[in-house]
């Protein structure tokens, strides 16, 4: 049976009707991944043993008539920065090559508890530092729509795995756009939740006050289902919020588009934006208008400060977060260093990728005495300013609509020698992270080279429910999310 074009919901029906077994589902995805992945290289680790074990357990449950988890029948790929107990977790860095965690991240565990099956761990930029997967300490993932192109990043492996139908959904993280930008470049949907909605526990930290775990899927319905399970207070993450998680899946039609005010921030449609991207994103806005929404021109004047603020604050946090990778308790380390300082320097020098070192250096500099106030303190103040602009904007509009990326996917290698150019790939996504609000990326068309284009709906704090409802309805009157690459 060809499961490729079936949603998780449809697959689950087949499983519950006993037309197919979990082992058959697992084998189908394993076979497809083994065939397709060598072309796109989405996975660092394919978890063949685990997925079969899990599938057998599910079939056993079905046989015994035991209660099944909400995700029985679903196949999931996991960005390799989520710790998975007993399964190698590299964060796509050589520092963690061979590292087998003793514990699992909270979100991953919640999904496993709902009987999800894991197909593998996906490639990313090391520790999620990047926008294309080209910084990975292993290899570059290719865009399933055109294997000469980047999939975006950092969660490029997860986006590519979903785009190539190697799983039903995939976990990612979004620190400055790392879910929304690859969603856009790979033509899939992805949610960056409100900061504090999804637990960060057990995910290797990039910038702790920005990191937002989230999920990629073919459509919003599956995203809503997974988020309903992952979201909520986690006693292991003090920054998660004790705010009730709505039944996202039951409220997908809740928001009335008629009369809904959609803000179009002018700063997101000017400057270096690709004309085709601009056109397709504005078309998406018009689709909502056709359904009765009111488009409102708005301004988020500090947008151009976003990248600067972001690239001061995140390396600062990174410089401390990376300190634990010292080769003492886990991970790779050198032999024969004459003293402890040499041991640190040789271990970190040998196994950390160039972008990792670059960000540690920038952050260490920004936090140094004499520079701290000029950089960190000032950036923290501008951060508040940007956040307040979003809060103000949401007094006048219900939701904001904007592009995710100024361009569609670019050629592998085109920006690797120009880190600043690479940093600008985040220009339309970082402010959302700086503010901490949620953003949902959705596909909205293709350019003349058949490369996907996406847009994002941005909501106020903890308004995922609204975004899911609007995104789902958008996917009822458009079919961009149904398009598949030729592989």
């Amino acid at each position: 049976m060809d499961l490729q074009n079936l949603s998780f919901k449809q697959t689950r029906h087949l499983l519950l009707d006993k037309q197919i077994t979990a082992v058959e589902i697992a084998n189908y995805f394993l076979a497809r991944t083994k065939e397709i992945d060598p072309k796109i290289k989405a996975f660092i680790t394919i978890t063949e043993k685990e997925i079969i074990d899990q599938a057998q357990r599910i079939d056993e449950k079905i046989k015994k008539g035991e209660k099944l988890g909400k995700l029985a029948g679903a196949v999931m790929a996991v960005k390799d920065i989520f710790l998975t107990k007993g399964i190698q977790t590299t964060s796509s860095s050589q520092v963690l090559n061979g590292y087998i965690p003793q514990y699992s991240s909270s979100i991953y565990q919640k999904l496993i508890d709902e009987d999800v099956m894991i197909i593998g761990k996906t490639n990313t930029d090391p520790f999620a530092f990047g926008a294309s997967t080209e910084n990975s300490g292993y290899f570059t993932t290719k865009n399933p729509w055109n294997i000469e192109m980047v999939p975006g990043g950092s969660s490029g492996g997860s986006a590519a795995a979903v785009a190539a139908d190697l799983c039903h959904f995939a976990l990612g993280t979004d620190t400055g756009g790392s879910i929304r930008q690859p969603s856009s470049l790979c033509g899939v949907s992805g949610i960056k939740t409100t900061y504090g909605r999804n637990s960060r526990y057990g995910i290797t930290a990039m910038a702790s006050s920005f990191d937002c775990p989230g999920v990629f899927a073919r459509d919003v319905e599956d995203i809503a289902l997974v988020t309903e399970i992952t979201a909520g207070l986690d006693p292991h993450d003090a920054t998660t919020c004790d705010i009730e998680v709505p039944k996202y899946t039951e409220n997908l039609k809740k928001i009335n588009i008629k009369g809904l005010k959609i803000g179009l921030p002018k700063e997101y449609f000017t400057g270096s934006i690709d004309p085709e991207v601009k056109e397709k994103v504005l078309n998406a806005a018009k689709e909502f208008e056709k359904q009765g929404a009111i488009l409102v021109d708005i301004s988020l004047p500090s947008t151009d400060l976003g990248i600067a603020v972001y690239y001061i604050l995140i390396p600062s946090e990174i410089s401390a977060n990376m300190a634990r990778y010292d080769g003492i308790r886990f991970g790779q380390s050198v032999d024969g260093a004459p003293d402890i300082v040499s041991y640190y320097m040789q271990t970190r020098g040998k196994y950390m990728e160039p972008e990792v070192k670059r960000r540690i250096l920038i952050g260490t500099y920004a936090l140094s005495s004499g520079y701290y106030d000029a950089y960190y303190t000032k950036a923290a103040k501008v951060r508040t300013l940007i956040k307040n602009e979003f809060v103000e904007a949401f007094k006048n509009v219900d939701v904001i609509l904007a592009p995710c990326s100024p361009t569609p996917a670019w050629k592998i290698g085109a920006k690797v020698n120009d880190p600043l150019q690479m940093y600008l790939a985040d220009v339309y996504t970082v402010c959302i992270n700086v503010a901490g609000v949620p953003g949902l990326a959705l596909p909205c068309g293709f350019n003349n080279q058949n490369l996907p284009i996406g847009f994002q709906l941005i909501g106020n704090f903890f308004e995922e429910e609204k975004l899911f409802s609007l995104g789902h309805q958008f996917q009822q009157f458009t079919d961009y999310h149904q398009k598949r690459p030729q592989l």
């Binding site: 920065i81 057990g202 003090a238 410089s319 401390a320 300190a323 010292d326 140094s368």
Partner: protein
């Protein structure tokens, strides 16, 4: 040349909470199998996040309030960045800009030491250097990593080694009263780092010597000796070099207890850059006025308050008051015996009577056995009985001391013990007169002596006491003997 030492103390206190500061591991680490009280959080494993231990934070505030500090409206943790193998995360969580509490003061003798701040932080692991198989190895035990520490920073108001010792004793007392730590310097649950320099007045000029911070002092006498050594060393150094303090010449010195010397560990302390910044993994913390009030109410009566009470209500002297208040258990038990309602009119005599027994016979007994005073062995009623008997001259003060220890050990009423041992004084005039006659008859020589010198009556009294097997009331015995001998 006039020399005034300027001493500030940083005191680290390990809180005895059940769990560590940022994870659920047991905070117990003394004599525990290495690396058994660890988890992803305190091992600094990838992805692990700290969740603050609220009890520890409340205890820090509690200590601050007990030291007269003001709580900050908002506090937050910061990361102090440096590399060391026993610092699992590569940074220590501490408080820098906004500690929980600031600006307090402590009375030390009749002086005051201002407290700059008390803040919350986490302990590091322990590195053990060994030689084995012909190799020098360093082993790391992370059991201590993440144990809650409160750091109390004083202003440099301490002017002598003795005052530093008294300050530490006072700190220890308060901490133990609050029940938040054993504050045991020898076991490392209380550690202190003095920073010392000197103000030197010479020929109308004033000089300040370079600051020296002294580390690794592991005992109270060590602190005192190290400071004394440092005062002497800095004086000599100044006489040689006349170097004065500047922003770059602060040094760190270690204390070698065997040689009784401090030695240079690190120069130019001013250049260390820990790149503090707010810990993003923990939201800012706020204690509401109601929460602060709740913590304030939970603070027991502290030694200073007790001493004041003993002096004003019971008229105990300074010495007795402060010795009783030194140990909370001791003071509390004393107060179960002596309450303001006891023997209304004679409360001061009673308080003094009990204080003498507690600080005399009972304390001596405790010192001999190494035990702590045990509430269940103290019956307040017995002390009242004993006091009444002494007041009525039935039992002498020295007999009281004797019987109270036995009573403490056996649980028997001390008056009963006195009866059993024949320690009840005979104050019956008839019986005493009979014994006096007997003594006079048996000792004609002594009677002759008395006639010549009335001061020699002591011998006859002694004989009478012996005859009564010590039970005669000596005052009455003297009076009756005199009456008979003087023939009236």
């Amino acid at each position: 040349m006039k020399i005034t030492p300027i001493i500030g103390l940083e005191v680290h206190v390990e809180l005895k909470t059940k769990s560590k500061m940022f994870c659920n591991c047991s905070a117990e680490h003394f004599h525990v199998e290495p690396n058994t009280h660890t988890c992803p959080v305190c091992l600094g494993l990838p992805g692990a996040l700290p969740v603050p231990n609220i009890t520890a934070c409340e205890w820090c505030v509690k200590l601050g309030l007990a030291l007269g500090c003001t709580p900050n409206e908002t506090s937050f943790f910061e990361r102090k960045n440096y590399f060391y193998p026993d610092l699992a995360k590569g940074y220590q969580l501490t408080q820098y800009e906004k500690p929980f509490v600031i600006n307090g003061k402590v009375k030390v003798g009749d002086q005051e030491v201002r407290i700059n701040r008390a803040h919350m932080e986490e302990d590091t692991g322990k590195s053990v250097h060994i030689s084995e198989y012909g190799q020098d190895l360093t082993l790391i035990d992370y059991n201590r990593c993440g144990v809650p520490l409160v750091e109390i920073v004083s202003e440099p108001d301490i002017t002598s080694a003795t005052m530093a010792k008294d300050y530490l004793l006072k700190m220890q007392q308060i901490i133990r009263y609050l029940g938040i730590s054993d504050a045991d310097i020898e076991k490392g649950s209380m550690r202190c780092e003095p920073t010392v320099n000197l103000k030197i007045e010479d020929n109308g000029e004033v000089f300040y010597t370079p600051l020296a911070e002294i580390k690794n002092v592991a005992s109270l006498t060590g602190v005192q000796n190290a400071i004394e050594f440092e005062i002497k060393r800095q004086t000599e150094e100044f006489e040689k070099t006349r170097e004065v303090k500047n922003s770059k010449n602060k040094t760190t010195r270690g204390w070698n207890a065997e040689k009784a010397q401090t030695f240079l560990q690190r120069e130019k302390e001013g250049s260390a850059d820990y790149r503090y910044f707010p810990e993003p993994d923990i939201p800012h913390m706020e204690f509401t006025p109601a929460q602060i009030e709740e913590i304030r109410i939970s603070i027991p009566e502290l030694p200073d308050q007790k001493i004041e009470k003993y002096k004003s209500v019971y008229s105990l002297n300074d010495y007795d008051s402060s010795v009783i208040a030194t140990d909370q258990n001791f003071a509390d038990i004393y107060e179960t015996v002596v309450t303001p309602q006891n023997r209304n009119d004679k409360i001061k005599e009673f308080a003094k009577f009990v204080a003498n027994l507690f600080l005399g016979a009972i304390k001596t007994h405790l010192n001999e056995t190494g035990e702590e005073l045990n509430q269940s062995k103290i019956n307040p009623e017995y002390f009242l009985n004993l006091f009444d008997s002494v007041q009525k001259s039935e039992i002498s003060s020295s007999a009281a001391k004797q019987v109270i220890v036995e009573s403490y050990q056996t649980g028997t009423n001390p008056v009963e013990i006195a009866k059993d041992k024949g320690l009840i004084q005979v104050s019956d005039t008839g019986a005493l007169e009979k014994m006096a006659q007997e003594v006079i008859t048996a000792n004609p020589k002594a009677v002759e002596d008395y006639k010549k010198n009335p001061m020699s009556i002591g011998f006859l009294i002694g004989q009478l006491m012996r005859l009564s097997k010590g039970s005669a009331n000596p005052q009455m015995a003297k009076e009756i003997l005199e009456k008979i001998l003087n023939g009236n």
